[in-house]
């Protein structure tokens, strides 16, 4: 889900930075209004906690695979949406700097795709309305699963939009979308269940730690734990059924697209194709007007271009080595 710098162009990166900064500025204002200096160390440690627990593999029953914890939903259920959002920014920044997960330029996109949806939509539009009339185990499970599924779907949709707006991939929009959404639906379900398990444990041990918990609002749960599990399984089955129908059309769709797009362009000598190729040659060849001696071939032109690049890089590298050598010599002398 983390986007790399290579997948976006500067214009998209800047737009997403502006959107994420606006959300961050609003969150900073909200957290400052609360004036709880204690919250800052808690945010820091919770960020480190999310970071560390995302490395645990949870076995998914009945399958050979494993899942991970959903950070945004867990943080906002404990710290609230605003502090949770700011903590997620920290997590994403450290992930990108220390572990190359995501990129500095794509940070704005990643904050939006993961932190904004996870914290703002997950906490304000899902967690809060569900917990309005008191908390219960069942409600926590429903809110966590729904929250993770919906926010991951939104995140995956944004990744698709941002990549396509950057013009990076030749994949048609629909094909890309049908590949991204179902995968993230499955991931969302598993992440939701793991997050639910942790939050239910906290609810039973120290409920006051959860965001929006008020003792006087608590009443007997309307749904028992077992009933909720049954309801959730039925919903999961229905979603899975729908998904398989959707997914079964996917390979055909892809094949169709490949055939449609590539079949007709197979080395045809149509005028505009040649024109486009010539434009690209201009862009890729380093010496468009020059070539090997006695050769006018495109191969020669571009070859000299690439040789040129490599020579320039080699000259710079040699200069750096020389610089280092003389610097060392000087420091030894002094």
């Amino acid at each position: 889900m983390h986007m790399a710098d290579a997948l976006i162009v500067p214009a998209v990166a800047a737009t997403m930075y502006v959107c994420s900064s606006a959300a961050a500025a609003y969150s900073v204002k909200k957290v400052r209004l609360e004036y709880e200096p204690k919250k800052i160390p808690v945010m820091g440690i919770m960020g480190a906690f999310v970071f560390a627990t995302q490395m645990i593999n949870f076995t998914i029953p009945g399958t050979g695979s494993s899942g991970h914890l959903c950070g945004g939903m867990l943080l906002s259920a404990i710290l609230g949406p605003f502090a949770g959002f700011l903590t997620m920014i920290g997590v994403l920044l450290i992930q990108c700097l220390l572990f190359a997960d995501g990129g500095l330029l794509a940070l704005g996109c990643n904050v939006w795709n993961m932190a904004f949806y996870g914290c703002f939509i997950g906490a304000l539009l899902i967690w809060r309305p569900i917990m309005k009339s008191g908390m219960s185990r069942a409600k926590i499970i429903v809110a966590s699963v729904l929250g993770c599924v919906i926010t991951l779907q939104l995140g995956a949709f944004s990744v698709t939009l941002e990549t396509l707006a950057s013009g990076i991939t030749e994949l048609p929009f629909k094909t890309f979308l049908t590949a991204m959404q179902p995968i993230h639906l499955a991931i969302g379900l598993v992440e939701g269940l793991i997050t639910a398990a942790v939050l239910v444990f906290i609810y039973e041990a120290r409920p006051e730690l959860l965001w929006g918990y008020k003792e006087e609002m608590q009443k007997k749960p309307a749904l028992s734990f077992k009933t909720t599990l049954v309801i959730l399984s039925v919903v999961a089955l229905l979603i899975a059924g729908g998904l398989s129908l959707f997914a079964s059309s996917y390979p055909d769709g892809l094949e169709w697209s490949i055939e449609k797009l590539t079949g007709s362009t197979e080395l045809e000598a149509v005028g505009n194709v040649y024109e486009r190729a010539a434009d690209i040659q201009d862009a890729t060849a380093l010496l468009p007007d020059y070539a090997f001696k006695d050769s006018e071939s495109a191969l020669g032109t571009s070859f000299s271009g690439i040789v040129g690049s490599l020579v320039v890089v080699a000259v710079c590298v040699a200069a750096c080595y020389a610089f280092r050598f003389f610097r060392r010599k000087r420091s030894v002398a002094s």
Partner: protein, 266 residues
């Protein structure tokens, strides 16, 4: 859990290299942060077929690797996180974009292949640039630079705290999972029955720790802000370093300098 061991090892390694007393490490952090961002922007701004221009951008990572005396090998494992997704996105380009441009023997190079290669190179360069930033600048210095560009103190402070506690919490997670795996041999991950209690216990302990940390910070006079020493002031060499790199990067981006070299040597 080799993943956790790797993470701890990586953190220690980065801290070791970033804390060295090299002249590149001592350049003002804001200069290094700004150059990294400018470099990444320039790299991703290349058109998807502009392969030759992009290759020239190798000059920055190559030079910094040598000047900072860093091992290129250490940076390679970071590529494995980013490259798979970039490759998945780019792998379809050769199938959809099949306009032939060159023939090398019987092999036809198409526009899709060029655009895929460009995408992968962009991925590699941007990851290397971020690695170089973190390998010659400590997190504290990066946080200092972020404060200079007016990133709110609440974000910067919690990033610093988070960084300080990551190795501790990763260590704790490692002990917990090791203890669990010793009691549940042959099991791949954590069984779903203990999902809640295993992580929940750690969460409760972390919250208590946060409280203790906060109290001890208060005892030492913490009032919600961090104060930085006056160690970092802009000096002439910082400005020269920035200006020289900016000129080099802009020249490589906008002047077809490599073409001339290609003509001389090709």
């Amino acid at each position: 859990m080799s993943r956790l061991d790797n993470a701890i090892h990586e953190l220690n390694h980065i801290e070791d290299v970033a804390g060295r007393d090299q002249w590149v490490n001592n350049i003002h952090p804001l200069v290094k942060l700004a150059l990294t961002i400018i470099y990444i922007i320039i790299v991703v701004s290349f058109g998807k077929y502009n392969l030759s221009g992009l290759i020239g951008m190798a000059v920055y990572p190559a030079a910094v690797f040598i000047l900072a005396e860093l091992s290129f090998k250490d940076s390679l494992k970071r590529l494995k996180v980013v490259l798979p997704f970039v490759c998945i996105v780019g792998i379809f380009n050769p199938f959809f974009d099949r306009i032939p441009i060159y023939n090398i023997g019987s092999f036809t190079v198409t526009t899709g292949m060029i655009s895929m290669l460009t995408l992968v190179i962009k991925g590699v360069f941007s990851v290397l640039a971020s690695y170089l930033l973190i390998a010659i600048t400590t997190i504290e210095e990066i946080c200092f630079a972020l404060r200079l560009i007016h990133v709110p103190s609440i974000i910067v402070t919690q990033v610093m705290l988070m960084y300080r506690y990551i190795s501790m919490l990763i260590g704790e997670v490692e002990r917990i999972t090791k203890a669990y795996s010793l009691r549940a041999p042959g099991q791949k991950g954590i069984h779903f029955k203990v999902w809640g209690s295993l992580v929940g216990q750690l969460l409760l302990r972390s919250m208590d720790k946060a409280e203790a940390v906060y109290e001890s910070m208060c005892l030492r006079g913490f009032n919600g802000n961090f104060y930085y020493s006056e160690k970092h002031k802009f000096v002439m060499s910082d400005i020269i370093y920035f200006a020289v790199w900016l000129i080099i990067l802009l020249v490589f981006r906008f002047v077809p300098i490599v073409r001339a070299f290609g003509y001389i040597f090709g």
